[in-house]
Subunit: 124 residues, 2 copies
DNA sequence: TCAACGATTCACGAGTAGTTGAGATATGGA
DNA sequence: TCCATATCTCAACTACTCGTGAATCGTTGA
């Protein structure tokens, strides 16, 4: 897991459709879903879906598997975890507060002293 | 921490210069560094740095603080952790393998059965 | 007030991402 | 073989991002 792979993965995740794709595919991992079924569930066009799946596959976040006329896409849960772990360790040097907030948010507990209820500039 | 904030944060992180910025600023958190000092350390132009810092600040990943003629930028470690935690929980539904790989990578242990030494299509 | 310094903003051009529709390709069944 | 279905590829277009240099703004100290 090197820097360029992590950058590609982050760029791949930084799009609403692809984040939805990852959410959907992680939910059905490790079997995955056929492209047509994904298109139906997320209401995206076939060509748009192919584009986004290709991005995710190139970033290593999902893997494709042909089965007769269908192509099943499955989330690569190990790769997704490795990307998050890389950001935690290499970019954040395992900073205690980063790790702590990550764990708390992941456990659905939120931050105890969450001073930033709304971010500067992102409120509507 | 809603979806649009996470998307903005991921997009902000998905750039080499900004990932370097985050690494640098997390390393000196919570004090932060003045913009000129950051520019020197990372060898980027002043205008380019201002652009990237603005991206990071808008995404909530760093915070600016004026001190006389200097503007100090500090990483918002809680926000960074929350973004990672959101991806773990909301997008990956706390999938055990994702959490596991994340924890292992963050602890520098790597994955035990890492079948993907190199990703499909990202090797040079 | 003035000069020096740090930070910000602006315009411009190049490159890339995203969306869409049309057509091509591959597979399975009648 | 023919048709229906599933997936892929391509071109065209729009919109955005990024890097750069110049100009501008704000603060400080003489």
């Amino acid at each position: 897991m090197d820097k360029s792979r992590v950058l590609a993965a982050l760029a791949a995740l930084a799009h609403e459709t692809r984040l939805d794709l990852v959410r959907l595919l992680v939910g059905v991992a490790p079997e995955g879903l056929a492209q047509g079924e994904i298109a139906r569930r997320l209401s995206v066009t076939a060509s748009g879906l192919a584009f986004h799946l290709a991005q995710l596959e190139q970033a290593g976040l999902v893997r494709a598997r042909r089965q007769s006329r269908h192509v099943f896409y499955a989330a690569d849960t190990a790769c997704i975890g490795a990307v998050l772990g890389y950001v935690l360790r290499d970019c954040c040097q395992s900073h205690p507060e980063v790790s702590d907030c990550c764990r708390r948010t992941a456990e659905g507990r939120g931050a105890p002293g969450d001073k930033r209820g709304s971010p500067p500039g992102s409120q509507t």
